[in-house]
């Protein structure tokens, strides 16, 4: 009797973990196949009951089961909707150049990247709070320079700008010269693969 309870309890735990880890609602048939001969419906009913008044509920829809945060908490969960947008490659590269070369003018950024920088790129970085205008360079035309903000350090978990890995560190970490040709002669073995 207690044995039966124990094994039921283990099966409920298993269902709970499967439903938690699954990316999509799980068809009841699939859940049945994971618990063997024991009818899955009463186990799911147990689990449903367990979560009935909790912050998360077990819900069935179209023969599929899933955990969902309780509907009444919706208002409290939403603070302010912010869409996470993927940054363009141009934006990420521009940010990295500003980080490493600051204070740096737009012309200099373009010279390093080898392509023109659209105005929007710097706007996006400024809006994200990562870069800001610095002093004007005292050269003809007095171009504006760009620097990173304190929030930039916060976001990337850096103590200071000096903690950015140097070019040598990047090379050693495998982030530079990825396509460097290998020497073709034996006897130059470096001991690494």
């Amino acid at each position: 009797m207690s044995d039966l309870f124990d094994s039921d309890f283990q099966l409920v735990r298993l269902l709970e973990a499967i439903l938690f880890a699954s990316a999509d609602p799980v068809p009841e048939g699939v859940l049945q196949s994971r618990v063997g001969a024991v009818p899955v419906r009463p186990l799911l009913a147990q689990l449903e009951n367990l979560y009935r008044h909790r912050g998360v509920n077990l819900v069935a829809s179209g023969g599929r089961w899933a955990f969902r945060t309780a509907a009444d908490l919706g208002d409290k969960l939403r603070v302010e909707i912010e869409v996470t947008a993927k940054l363009s490659r141009a934006a990420v590269e521009t940010l990295s150049i500003i980080a490493y070369h600051q204070p740096v003018t737009r012309a200099e950024i373009e010279a390093i990247r080898g392509v023109a920088t659209s105005k929007g790129t710097l706007d996006i970085l400024m809006e994200a709070g990562w870069v800001q205008p610095g002093r004007r360079r005292e050269t003809p035309g007095r171009p504006l320079t760009w620097i990173t903000t304190p929030h930039f350090l916060d976001h990337f978990g850096l103590g200071s700008l000096r903690d950015l890995p140097g070019v040598d560190d990047l090379r050693a970490a495998g982030l530079l010269d990825r396509a460097a040709p290998m020497p073709s002669l034996p006897g130059l073995g470096t001991g690494e693969g």
């Binding site: 990316a23 947008a85 990420v92 990247r113 990047l170 530079l176």
Partner: protein, 259 residues
């Protein structure tokens, strides 16, 4: 004397599996650790002398089989041969670290690596996310952190910067393909890299890459280039050469007493 030590030790049975697995070692210290485990005693009570002999036998056998050994392995062989002679003979120079101190330092080095290898195994046996433990499969897009609009990590940032550098490197000048012969420049670079780590007089032959005894032009270029490289470095004042007589073995060592 050092070269002889390496040659005679070769008779000892070296585990074939060890040799075949030469690429499997993460460097000479790792190889030494594997050999030390064969002694089946606690690392603090290991016989460094016996270990040195095993290592030298391994290197001798690898060279006999013409296995390519990285320069690191040869430097370690030269150093162990030196340590072995120091352990067997009374300490001549009082101002140098004693043989026992060197042996103790090597033991500590082995212990440290062993500790980290064991730690790595235990770390991997931890209940890992994505294998033993799982995160929420269907995270709901709640703005819980509500801080940043873009999901950009430090790695992405550094990688972007690295990519710019790599892109520029790719348009750098055309390079002449490397010839099949062993160039003097390569030999100089190789010797220079080993030089600072050599303990004392080392046999030139022992420092050459495996396969130089062959007959081919390539093998001969190896010996010739390395010899010329040794002369170049001697001329530049970086090393000293010694030869007892015509056709006698050539020894070299880093030049002592800077300035």
């Amino acid at each position: 004397m050092m070269a002889e030590g390496m040659a005679t030790a070769g008779d000892e049975a070296v585990d074939e599996a060890l040799l075949l697995d030469i690429d499997g070692y993460e460097g000479p210290i790792d190889l030494l650790l594997s050999l030390a485990r064969d002694q089946k005693v606690d690392l603090t009570r290991i016989s460094i002398l016996q270990l040195a002999e095993q290592y030298l036998a391994f290197v001798a056998e690898a060279r006999r089989l013409r296995l390519e050994l990285a320069a690191d392995y040869l430097v370690m062989a030269a150093w162990l041969a030196y340590l072995k002679s120091r352990l067997l003979l009374p300490d001549p120079q009082p101002d140098e670290p004693s043989a026992e101190m060197l042996a103790a330092a090597l033991t500590l080095q082995l212990q440290r690596l062993e500790a980290m290898q064991a730690a790595a195994a235990r770390l991997l046996a931890q209940p890992r996310l994505g294998r033993d433990r799982f995160a929420r499969g269907a995270p709901e897009d709640l703005p819980i952190f509500a801080k940043s609009r873009h999901d950009l990590g430090l790695y992405d940032l550094l990688k972007a910067y690295g990519d710019i550098g790599s892109r520029q490197a790719r348009v750098t000048p055309f390079t002449i393909p490397v010839t099949e012969l062993y160039s003097i420049e390569e030999a100089v670079a190789r010797l220079e890299a080993m030089l600072g780590k050599l303990p004392d007089w080392s046999h030139l032959d022992a420092l050459l890459p495996a396969g130089w005894r062959g007959r081919g032009v390539k093998a001969r270029s190896l010996l010739a280039s390395s010899f010329v490289a040794a002369l170049e470095l001697a001329k530049a004042g970086q090393l000293e050469l010694r030869q007892e007589g015509a056709y006698a073995p050539i020894f070299l060592r880093a030049r002592r007493g800077e300035g």
